[in-house]
């Protein structure tokens, strides 16, 4: 899916601004990591791209069309093609994993197949395969509340993969995973995006993970894009600016020192700090 934001603003009642004029263009099949301090507007940005939040000003276009001027049924079909992954997965505690994963396709299945699948799961093999990619398939018939936070987060990812969307929006998809599983999960998302030419936008807390897996890094601060660069050209100074920490600490997994790829010759010149 192709995404275009122009001067998008989100203002909540009370005057708090989550997005303050964001311009962003993402091509089909592109993989983008959004990084930035907490409260920078990462979640709002993803929700605007996922048609869950309507910008109070500015415009959003998905595949060239404004979702908010689509007729109801077209908007629903569009939403069925967008897979969202949440920081805390919205899965009912009493629901079984198989049902939680299959719910990913409700948009595509329609009314009767959705109801029939509650009587007997419509695609046990499919749910199992999706869970297997994230190494939680042996819990297929367990209830969600029997899982640890990290396992649950991976079930949320499995549901989005099972949906087979054309756009994956992942909001801190690995926040409760250890570095090894985080790497597996982000890797799986990237493999999915590459193999099916799916657009992937993920907000990540760990900068090293973003730099390792994504060819494009967007730095968001105070609701505005501070930089939008390939990882090669993201400098230590840009990151320090983004997180504006006095200690100079940049968030990584387990606070490991950030290993950056060797900067190319153009980045060294420093003539274009914002890249795009």
């Amino acid at each position: 899916m192709k995404l275009l934001l122009a001067d998008a603003r989100i203002e909540f009642s009370g005057g708090r601004r989550a997005l303050d004029g964001v311009a962003l263009e993402v091509a089909r099949g592109e993989r983008v990591a959004v990084i930035g301090p907490s409260g920078a507007g990462k979640t709002s940005l993803l929700r605007v791209l996922g048609t869950a939040l309507r910008p109070s000003a500015g415009s959003v276009a998905i595949d060239g069309a404004d979702p908010w001027s689509l007729p109801r049924s077209a908007l629903r079909r569009l939403r069925a093609r967008i897979g969202a992954i949440y920081q805390s997965p919205p899965l009912p505690p009493r629901q079984r994993l198989v049902t939680a994963v299959l719910a990913g396709r409700l948009g595509a299945w329609g009314f009767w197949k959705g109801l029939a699948s509650l009587v007997y799961p419509a695609d046990i093999a499919g749910a199992r395969a999706a869970l297997a990619r994230l190494e939680v398939s042996e819990r297929l018939f367990d209830r969600c509340d029997r899982l640890s936070g990290g396992q649950l987060q991976r079930v949320g990812v499995a549901r989005a993969l099972y949906q087979r969307p054309e756009l994956i929006l992942a909001d801190e998809p690995v926040s409760s995973l250890d570095p090894q599983l985080a790497d597996l999960t982000v890797g799986e998302l990237n493999r999915e995006a590459r193999s099916r030419n799916v657009t992937l936008v993920a907000s990540l807390h760990a900068v090293d993970l973003a730099m390792k897996w994504f060819p494009r890094i967007v730095g968001l601060r105070a609701g505005a894009v501070q930089f939008d660069c390939p990882p090669m050209r993201v400098s230590q100074a840009m990151l320090r600016d983004l997180y504006a920490t006095e200690s100079g600490e940049i968030p990584t997994q387990d606070y490991r020192p950030l290993e950056r790829p060797q900067p190319g010759p153009r980045a060294a010149s420093g003539s274009q700090p914002l890249c795009r």
Binding site: G50, T51, A52, L53, R54, W68, S69, R72, L75, R76, R77, L78, R79, A80, R81, I82, G83, A84, Y86, P90, L91, P92, P93, R94, Q95, T99, A103, G104, L106, G107, A108, G110, F111, G114, L115, L118, Q163, P165
Partner: protein
């Protein structure tokens, strides 16, 4: 306390509103007690005490003849059937109504989308219908339906169905909204429909509460069916009305014990279901 300490620990801003709310509740309660002419001391006046004792005295000895017990058993079964059939209808009616008025299942609220103002407008008449159904007491519904379908349990079934659907619709809807609404919303946001969002996102969250409230309402329906029996809607109530009219306290007390047993059974079923659904 020094100024520095006062600065370090700011006063809880909730204090003012809480005090005000308590005061308002007390001010509202006082006239209510006055208007209801509630004075607990009148209960303890010797004249009133002996009147109550005389009334309770007529309840003994209990009527335990085989014929009468057989009759009571039949009526109890009828009451149970009446309450159960009424509840089944009420649940079947209440769920769709609750889904219709539920804001967390509104697709146009996401965004909010174009025409989102239509949502509350469409929900308003359904809410009005729910209010109408539950604000008219079941005994009035029963009187109405007795005229339509004649004396007997069928009128009671209909009265319970209508009146209780109004209550269930309102409380189900409140249970849905009080629980975690994110699962349902996530399904709507990925293109799922309202009914599927309900079954995949709301039911697994709210099921224990829905079941426990429904069983409690079933218990209430058993009691209500007695009251409706007084206007000819069958069951134990009709029998009790006869006994009261014939001043047969022993029969009344036997039926009250049967009643107690029925409510006890409802309580046990509720506890069992809650355990199973945990």
């Amino acid at each position: 306390m020094t100024t520095a300490a006062a600065l370090a620990a700011p006063r809880d801003p909730a204090l003012g509103p809480r005090l005000a709310l308590t005061l308002v509740a007390l001010v509202l309660l006082w006239p209510a007690v006055q208007i209801a002419e509630f004075n607990p001391l009148t209960l303890l006046e010797p004249k009133n005490l002996s009147a109550m004792a005389r009334f309770l005295g007529t309840f003994f000895p209990m009527a335990l003849s085989a014929d009468f017990l057989h009759l009571v058993a039949r009526s109890a079964l009828e009451t149970l059937a009446l309450a159960t059939a009424g509840m089944a209808l009420a649940i079947a009616l209440g769920f769709p109504l609750a889904i219709a008025v539920s804001e967390s299942l509104s697709i146009s609220r996401i965004g909010p989308a174009r025409g989102a103002w239509l949502g509350p407008l469409a929900r308003a008449p359904v809410r009005g219908l729910l209010i109408l159904m539950r604000s008219i007491p079941e005994i009035v519904w029963a009187l109405l339906f007795v005229r339509a379908v004649g004396l007997g349990p069928a009128a009671g079934v209909l009265a319970i169905a209508i009146n209780y659907a109004g209550m269930l619709g309102k409380v189900y809807f409140e249970i849905f909204e009080a629980g975690d609404t994110r699962p349902a919303r996530a399904i709507l946001e990925s293109g799922g429909g309202r009914v599927n969002a309900f079954f995949y996102g709301v039911v697994p969250v709210a099921l224990p509460e829905i079941v426990s409230y429904s069983v409690y309402r079933w218990e209430c329906a058993i009691r209500a069916s007695v009251v409706m029996g007084f206007v000819g809607a069958g069951g134990l109530g009709q029998q009790m009305e006869l006994s009261i009219r014939m001043l047969n306290g022993g029969e009344v007390s036997t039926m009250l014990v049967v009643f107690l047993l029925l409510v006890l059974v409802a309580d046990v079923i509720s506890a069992l279901l809650r355990k199973v659904l945990r």
